[in-house]
């Protein structure tokens, strides 16, 4: 693969991070209005991995994710309006209002769906990969999963099967140290790294800081090359952090379930948006203007999409009759 972390690519990554960040912030800002009436898990703080990955994949590569899927959907190029409509329960939503925030898809860009049961999307992603392989395509399937999802037996079963069949799947594990309010301590063996576990199961794997686009870039590059060479799946673990509560628009570090220092470090010092923006701005001060103008464009896009969602109609209830495919 010939991709380099050029300025152009940095800006690409920055744009996606910024767009996700702003979208999520607008959602958070408006949630109190009680127009987005569904459980909503924000991705703020975890944007760097999907944004960087987007350089390496195209719309023929297929991605699937879980409850915290906004960033994955947007980074894959998912339609912003349709996502906001879905969260608002509107007819123009990507699932026609049937699924809400936890059920996003955009077939046009290879974003296959998200599911609301922890771990549930993993074997489905392996199935996607298997079909890609059987059709002899050069693409890959991407499975986003959290540090909690790997606790479900189905993760283990799916990974095992993907290895046996040499299925082209990239596992992207965003380890944000928490599953709802539960820390890794009560859920997984001390000092056991998730990527090492995956290696023990038999999968090629690696790990890095998921808030550092440069490190992410390197690891993903290696992983995608490996998968495309036909050797089978690759498991990447990224350390990252969610800034806000597990589900909903608020900050919740006042509940003290996460060490203050940890939160301070990840939220204040290692914010992925700040990191990449600073790098660009410092190294290429001439770009500041460009970034600012892009910000305005992006913010405009988001607010018009948001308005579109607010004024869109609710779906007609006759769509509920479609229980069986014909």
């Amino acid at each position: 693969m010939k991709i380099n972390l050029s300025l152009k690519n940095k800006i690409k990554i920055w744009k996606i991070i910024y767009k996700i960040r702003r979208t999520e912030e607008i959602i958070a800002l408006n949630y109190y209005k009680e127009k987005m009436r569904c459980p909503t898990h924000l991705s703020i703080g975890q944007e760097a991995v999907p944004a960087t990955l987007s350089l390496f994949i195209n719309r023929k590569d297929q991605a699937i994710s879980g409850h915290r899927g906004h960033a994955h959907y947007l980074a894959k190029g998912g339609n912003l309006k349709k996502m906001l409509c879905e969260i608002h329960g509107k007819a123009n939503g990507c699932s026609e209002g049937k699924g809400g925030s936890m059920h996003l898809k955009d077939d046009k860009v290879g974003f296959v769906g998200t599911t609301a049961i922890v771990g549930n999307s993993i074997p489905i992603g392996v199935g996607l990969g298997l079909s890609i392989k059987l059709k002899k395509k050069k693409n890959l399937a991407i499975i986003y999963l959290g540090d909690g999802a790997i606790e479900e037996g189905v993760f283990y079963e799916s990974l095992n099967f993907a290895i046996i069949k040499k299925i082209p799947v990239l596992f992207i594990c965003e380890n944000n140290f928490y599953s709802v309010y539960s820390s890794l301590k009560v859920r997984q063996p001390k000092n056991r790294k998730i990527y090492k576990l995956s290696q023990g199961i038999g999968c090629k794997s690696d790990f890095t800081d998921g808030n550092d686009y440069a490190k992410i870039f390197k690891k993903i590059k290696k992983a995608v090359e490996y998968i495309k060479s036909g050797k089978g799946p690759f498991f990447l673990e990224f350390a990252t952090y969610r800034h806000r509560e597990h589900c909903g628009p608020n900050f919740d570090d006042n509940l003290n379930y996460r060490p203050k220092k940890l939160s301070y470090n990840w939220i204040k010092k290692k914010d992925p948006l700040t990191k990449i923006e600073k790098n660009i701005v410092n190294k290429y001060p001439k770009k500041i203007k460009y970034l600012e103008s892009e910000k305005i464009k992006i913010n405009n896009e988001i607010s018009s999409a948001f308005k579109f969602a607010e004024i869109s109609p609710y779906p007609k209830t006759n769509i509920l009759k479609k229980i069986y495919a014909k």
């Binding site: 329960g89 049937k98 599911t115 909690g148 309010y181 539960s182 628009p249 609710y314």
Partner: protein
């Protein structure tokens, strides 16, 4: 006489667990979120601190294994209460529930005292996999008991009975009831599993309900009363075992039967009750028994799509009036009095997002 002590169902569940933890010093309480700041909608708050980390603990997201663990504990006489924030998540554990827990006593003559709390979501956009009412699955499996409390008072007494029952008990809590309030004695009391509760006495029609639908039914009966329709309302409390004898008595008295069931229409427990009614009370039935169930459709997420999705007091009134051939205009007039709440939340205090 019950003293005036209004508390929520979340609180009464918490009290029941605490009483049990004190009575049985070896009993465990675990499940995802048990020890977290929100304590499973408030039901497990404070337990870890009082009863220690050995007995009250959070777990990995491994529903099937942790169900099996409770079977192993049960074999050695250790009771456990295991909580799941959504019934839907528990579908991962059907092997351990059906193949192990439900059959261990049958096969090995060894009691397995587990209480599995399943919370059923509803509204606020829960969507297809956060609001399933699959109680009829559990009632279909020999060896399981299935409890569906409808209020804070019952929840406490039923949960205590469930915990001290020597069998695996599925204890289903509708999320909309957690904030519902009733007068609950502080002391311990047990409500027998397998016994229903007559909520209202009447002669025109028998209505059978359970869990949250009992609240809607009570509401409906208030209006029906105004139309001179007095209802024999029975809250099932447990759907397995089923309190058939009380239902039968009522049907013989009224000759009319309406069963409310929050499960999907096809294969509902409502049909089982209606089968029994037809089979054993055929000559008493003045008209075909009927049922109101949720449709054979997954719950959609959108506020716009769920408006007519649930069974409310309105549908109940409509159905009863149709069964009893009442004056339609009169009903409409009565119903229009009622203020409109948002249909996807139980009351104005209810807040999402989870």
């Amino acid at each position: 006489m019950q003293n005036k002590r209004p508390i929520t169902m979340a609180e009464s569940i918490n009290e029941a667990i605490q009483i049990a933890m004190k009575k049985d010093k070896s009993m465990l309480c675990y499940g995802l979120g048990t020890t977290d700041p929100k304590g499973i909608f408030g039901t497990t708050i404070g337990l870890e601190k009082k009863y220690g980390k050995d007995r009250v603990f959070d777990v990995p997201a491994s529903e099937n294994a942790l169900t099996g663990v409770s079977v192993g504990l049960g074999i050695n006489g250790i009771r456990s209460i295991v909580s799941h924030q959504r019934l839907d998540f528990f579908l991962l554990a059907m092997d351990q529930l059906v193949n192990s827990a439900a059959k261990w006593f049958f096969t090995y003559n060894k009691a397995i005292p587990i209480t599995i709390r399943l919370i059923v979501g509803r509204g606020w956009g829960q969507g297809p996999t956060h609001a399933q009412n699959l109680h009829s699955w559990f009632a279909h499996i020999p060896g399981l008991k299935v409890v569906m409390p409808s209020n804070a008072y019952d929840a406490k007494g039923l949960l205590l009975s469930s915990i001290f029952d020597p069998n695996p008990v599925i204890f289903i809590e509708n999320r909309w009831l957690h904030q519902s309030i009733s007068n609950v004695p502080k002391k311990q009391y047990f409500i027998n599993l397998g016994k229903s509760k007559k909520k209202l006495s009447g002669k025109k029609i028998t209505i059978i309900s359970s869990s949250y639908l009992t609240a809607e039914a009570i509401n409906a009966c208030k209006y029906l009363k105004k139309l001179n329709i007095d209802v024999d309302l029975i809250d099932l409390r447990t759907i397995a075992p089923l309190d058939w004898s009380n239902i039968k008595k009522s049907i013989k008295k009224t000759g009319s039967l309406l069963v409310l069931d929050s499960g999907h229409f096809s294969g509902s427990i409502a049909s089982e009750i209606i089968y029994k009614a037809t089979n054993e009370c055929f000559e008493f039935l003045k008209k075909p028994p009927s049922k109101l169930c949720q449709p054979d459709i997954p719950e959609p997420s959108s506020f716009g799509l769920t408006k007519k999705f649930y069974i409310t007091y309105k549908e109940i009134i409509g159905k009863v009036c149709k069964m009893l051939n009442c004056d339609k205009e009169l009903i409409k007039a009565e119903l229009n009095y009622k203020k409109e709440f948002l249909h996807d939340i139980p009351n104005s205090n209810f807040k999402g997002p989870f």
